[in-house]
Amino acid sequence: MVKREEIVHAANLIKIDLKDHEKYIEQVEKILNYFDILDNASAESESFVTQEMSLDKLRDDKYVPFDEKLITQLKNYKGTFVKAPKMI
């Protein structure tokens, strides 16, 4: 059984603030309980691939300049840098 604190922790990790959102915790809890159906699937012997494409099929890693105007779409763009919130 998943604990509520664990759901809140997972939300914090992905920067979702659950203050005033109790109902999300309950809904996610209910969904995770349903996902437990996977325990009954006998698939232990199955294998899966995480890398579908062989690396030699990738395009060359070369610099292709993109439309310079694109960066000016950033609302926090200040000429030569992007303003971001304080890290420390």
Binding site: I14, V28, Y34, D39, E46, P85
Partner: protein, 481 residues
Amino acid sequence: MNLGITATQYLEQIKNGSLTVEEFISKTMERINKVEPSIHAYISLNNDAISQAKQIDKKLKAKENVGSCLGMPISIKDNICTKGMKTTCASKMLENFVAPYDATVISNLKSQDAIIIGKTNLDEFAMGISTEFSYFGPSRNPWNTDYVPGGSSGGSAVSVSALECIASLGSDTGGSVRNPASFCSVVGLKPTYGLVSRYGLISYANSIEQVGPMARTVEDTAFILNIISGIDQHDNTTIDKGKVDYTKELDVGVEGKRIGIISEMIGEGVDKQVAAATSKAISKLQTLGAECNEVSLDSVKFSVATYYTIAATEAGSNLARYDNIRYGFDFDVEGYEFNAYISKARKNFGPEVTRRMILGSFVPSAGYVGKYFLKALKVRSKIKSEIEQAFKKFDLLIAPTSPVLPFKIGEKVDDPLSLYLLDINTIVANLSGIPAISIPYEMTNGLPIGIQFFANSMQEKTLLQAAYALEKTTNLPGVPI
């Protein structure tokens, strides 16, 4: 003027001069302005559509080369990037995002002189099955506006059904093209994974989603598929389709075709009227010479949990980019610590996206990754092998597109799990990568029922041929709106 003509009829009329592109686009715009207040298919419209139509008319008059769409109006789900137009994903987060480039599918359509008539409504970031989770409000089913149009490509289905365009592009991650196609009585195709480029489709769950065409007939669907499919250097997962024309040999019929009826999709939990319509469709196919027998896909019962585990994990990763710095700016960074700033920005996500972000953080997290995410990947492999086995015995598989009829707006919005469970008949195609199509089959109490065929990977031609054969046995009414 009849706005309900098919793509084929449109092309004939433009070619023989009985119709101009400008006339058709103007009438389509009039129609949109008239019906939009009651159905809300579109998020934004192309204000240059009429001048683009005039340009194409001019080229036609001067006998210059014009692409195969001849100015046909096509609507686009608003999670597909269209240069210079807003591409919002129906999210407050991207409310003012103007795409700086065209998705490959859009470049393909434009190169064939299609006119992008507008961008259609969807569940926020394509997460939903009813189009009720749009920041801009729900779309409504043109067959009965108290009902949902399905989702997540609900706006696309509504726009095709309500004669606001000739065809549309949606995206299908777990049934998002086929479900609204079924609910709105139009045709919707989810192509083989890799047949259509995803470059410019705003990412939600990369390993399972595909752009797919929606139209009023199977032939029109094949016509659009011809244009959007094929290898793309911008999407490494695309497959070379070879020299195939999906519009050719559509009428070969189903005689001798072996069709498997998926037992797990016609039994428990399926609405009686949907089950009856499916049985009728199967009888019709048998009359046409198909050999229909039941086939069991045992792992279907695990498919909803498998799908949502994988989709949420990929969504959690993909949507991490919405941090109010690169996208979705609406307040200054001054005075905020990094985490607090991003958390505040993410309050701009609606309820379904928020739920899936939390799930997407939880199911692959340390301590639970084995129980949920890795297990889901294994079950996905099992589903794939069951499907492969089934296609050794059958040419096609059949099931109702949705286990239920369209439901009322607001009826299920607060019970996300009950909505998830409705995906059961569509998601196996996404998990296994195979193509599937929904075609309108019946009307019950004024609400549409769609029938779904699945084919083996890259067998779109077989799929379209079967759909065409079944379509020919139907005689459905015109949209009441």
